[in-house]
Symmetry: C2
C-alpha cells in the first residue's frame, strides 16, 4: 500500500499576531508496527479544541477565504502564546473512525476493519495515524457518531468521581453543570448514589438538569443563590468542587459555603474547620482572575485539574475500568447529542465559526471529515 492523501486543519500563529486556520493536504505513509491508519468519520468540537483552533482571536472581523481564516490575536493573548508562534498545529482531540490499514503488530492487525474511538489529537482530518495500544474498539453496531466523544467528556466526568473518592470526599459541587459533561455527571452520580450539587446560570439550564432527575440544582442568577448553596452543601456534605468557569468569585463562594456548613455545631477555631475543602478549576469559561476571599479558614486548596495528568496518576487498572464503563454505556450514560454536523470545509466558514465558537452550554458540534 502506498501513501494515503487527505485533508486536515492546521492552526498557525505568526510572529505578527495573525492567526491562520487552514485546510491543507497531507500524505500519510503506510502504518508500521503498532500503528493504525484511521479514516476519521466523526470528531466533536470540544471547548478544549477551540482554545487551540481559535483561542481569543477576533473571529468577528477575520478574513474568511476558501478553506482559510486569517484573524488577529489580541496582544494580551499573544504574550501567553509566545511558545506556539510559527508552529502549524493540528487540532481535534478525539473522534471515531474505521481502521483502514494496520502495522504488523498483532494488536494492530486485530483491529483492521474495526471501528474505533481514540484521543490522539489532530483528529480534525480525513485520515490519522494512531497507536493501536491507545484506541478503544467500539461495540459491534455502534455508530461513529456514538463513539466520537467517548474520551474527553466521559473520562473527565468519571475522573471527577475517582478524584472525589481518592481524596476522601463524599459529595461533589459542579459548576456550569448544564454542559454535556455536566449532564453525564448527573447520570453517573445517580447511578453511583453520589450526592451532587449542580450550579447553573439560568432557569432554562436548571430545568434541563431537573428533567434528568438531578436533585440539587441551583441557579446562580437568583437572589437567593447563596442561601440555597449553603443549604445544598449542608444537605449533601460536599467538600470538593469542580469548576469549569475559573474567573470571578464563585469558587470562593463555594469554599465559603463548605466552611459554613462544617462550622455548624463545631467548636470555634480561628483557623477554621480542619476538614480540607477542595476546589478544582478544569475550564476557563471566564478568563478573568479567580478572586478568593479566604473566608474559609486554612484547610483549603484550589488547583487546576486536567484529564491527562489525572489518568497518568490513576494508573492503568483504573483507566481500563473507566474505559470499560464508557464502552458499555455509550448510548445511555455517556451519550452526546449534537446540535449540527459540519464538514471540514464548513468549519472554516464565518457562519459556522460564529456559531460553534459561541460555546453555548449544551450545544455541541460534530465534524464529519469524510462526509
Amino acid at each position: 500500500m502506498g501513501d494515503m492523501r487527505g485533508l486536515k486543519i492546521l492552526s498557525t500563529l505568526a510572529e505578527d499576531g495573525h492567526l491562520t486556520v487552514e485546510l491543507v493536504e497531507e500524505n500519510l505513509p503506510p502504518p508500521t508496527g503498532h500503528e493504525l491508519l484511521i479514516r476519521v468519520e466523526a470528531t466533536p468540537i470540544n471547548p478544549s479544541d477551540l482554545g487551540l483552533l481559535l483561542g481569543p482571536a477576533d473571529v468577528e472581523n477575520a478574513d474568511y477565504g476558501d478553506g482559510r481564516i486569517v484573524a488577529t490575536m489580541p496582544d494580551s493573548a499573544r504574550r501567553a502564546m509566545a511558545a506556539r508562534v510559527g508552529q502549524a498545529l493540528a487540532v481535534g482531540n478525539e473522534g471515531a473512525g474505521m481502521v483502514v490499514a494496520a502495522g504488523d503488530a498483532a494488536q494492530a492487525q486485530a483491529l483492521l476493519g474495526k471501528r474505533v474511538s481514540c484521543v490522539p489529537g489532530g483528529m480534525f482530518a480525513q485520515y490519522r495515524l494512531v497507536d493501536a495500544r491507545a484506541v478503544m474498539a467500539l461495540p459491534d453496531g455502534a455508530s461513529a457518531e456514538e463513539g466520537a466523544s467517548a474520551f474527553v467528556n466521559p473520562m473527565t466526568a468519571l475522573g471527577f468521581v475517582e478524584t472525589m473518592r481518592r481524596e476522601g470526599h463524599e459529595a461533589i459541587v459542579h459548576t456550569a453543570a448544564a454542559s454535556n459533561l455536566g449532564q453525564m455527571l448527573v447520570r453517573i452520580a445517580r447511578e453511583d448514589g453520589i450526592p451532587l450539587v449542580n450550579i447553573v446560570r439560568s432557569q432554562a439550564q436548571a430545568a434541563t438538569l431537573e428533567a434528568l432527575g438531578a436533585e440539587h440544582v441551583l441557579d446562580s442568577s437568583r437572589a437567593d443563590f447563596h442561601d440555597r448553596l449553603l443549604a445544598a452543601i449542608e444537605a449533601t456534605g460536599a467538600t470538593i468542587a469542580f469548576d469549569a468557569i475559573g474567573g470571578g468569585t464563585l469558587v470562593g463562594q463555594i469554599l465559603h459555603g463548605m466552611e459554613q456548613a462544617l462550622a455548624k455545631g463545631a467548636a470555634y477555631s480561628r483557623y477554621g474547620s480542619d476538614r480540607l475543602k477542595q476546589a478544582y478549576i478544569y475550564g476557563a469559561l471566564d478568563t478573568t482572575p479567580t478572586v478568593l476571599t479566604r473566608s474559609f479558614g486554612f484547610s483549603w486548596n484550589v488547583g487546576g485539574w486536567l484529564l491527562t495528568p489525572f489518568l497518568q496518576r490513576a494508573g492503568a487498572e483504573t483507566v481500563e475500568r473507566m474505559r470499560r464503563r464508557v464502552r458499555d454505556n455509550l448510548t445511555t450514560t455517556f451519550a452526546s447529542p449534537y446540535k449540527a454536523r459540519l464538514s471540514l470545509q464548513d468549519v472554516l466558514t464565518r457562519d459556522a465559526v460564529l456559531t460553534y465558537n459561541a460555546r453555548r452550554t449544551g450545544e455541541k458540534y460534530l465534524i464529519v471529515p469524510n462526509g
Copy 2:
C-alpha cells in the same frame, strides 16, 4: 499541695460586637497523671495570637481600664467570628517556664524542677497545666527567653522544608521573608543547601536578609521586581512558595514566574507545563482577596498551610527529628530576638497594644507573666 492561684488573659466577643480582653484570676488544681503545672516565665506575642486576642477590633478607639480593654469589632469580622461569641478564650500559643508540680506518671515526675518549652495555648497566664508528653525539656542552662519561641516559628520554618521535600520540590519562594520566621528559614536553607528566593517589601528588609547571607533577596516595591523574580526562579528552579501575605496578586505573580521559567525551551502546550506549581498561604498580613490571573496553565495548586495539621500528617518520627534540631540550635539557627518585654498588665495598656498590634516585620514582643 492545694490549688494554685494565678492571673491569665481572656478574650471574649459579646453578641453586641464588643470585644473584652481582661486579666482574670483563676484557680489551678494540683496536676494528676501526666499533667504538669508550669510557672510561665516567657511567652511571645505571635501574629497568630493577635488574631485571637484582638482580631480586627478597633483598638485605636477602645476603652482601656484597669486590666481590661473593651473594643468594637467591625461588622464584617463579627459574621466570620459568630462561632466564638460568648466564649471567654484563653490566649497565647507557646512559651517556656518551670515545672513547679507534676502528676504521678513517671514521665511527668521526671520533669519536676526542669525548665520546659510548650505549645498548649492559653500561655498568656502566670500558671498553666500542660501534658508532660507534649513538652520539650530545655537544654541545661537555657533561659526561658531562649526557649519561649521554640515551637511556632522554628517548627513552621522546618515544616516548609519538610513540605518541599515530601512534595518533590527543590527550591522555595518565601514572602514577607524578613520576618523572624523568614530569618530562621534563611539560616535553615543555608545549612541544608536549599535554594531560597526571599521576597521582602523594602530596601531595609532586603539589607537585613543580605546581612544574614541570603543569596536571592527581592524587594517587591522596586519597578524591576517582576523581572528579578523571574530570574531568581529560573536560577533556583523553585516550584513551591510559602506566602504570609495572602491578599492581592503576589501569589499569582509567583506562580506565573514559575510557569514562565518552566516554559523556557519546552514544547508549546496550551495547558501549560505539566510540572506542578504549588503555593501555600500560611498567613494573612493582607486580608483582602487573593487574586489569581491563572496565567500559569493547569498544573497549579494554591492552598492553606497550618502547622498543626502538617505535624499530624508528618508523623511522630519526623516531628521528633524536627524538635531535636530546634533544641540543639536554640541560640543560633532558631534564636528569636525581642523588641521589648511586657508584663501581663502591660499587654492591656493602650501604648503597648498600639505598638505590638502594628505587627512590624521583625519586631517581636515577649510577655513575662511572673516578672
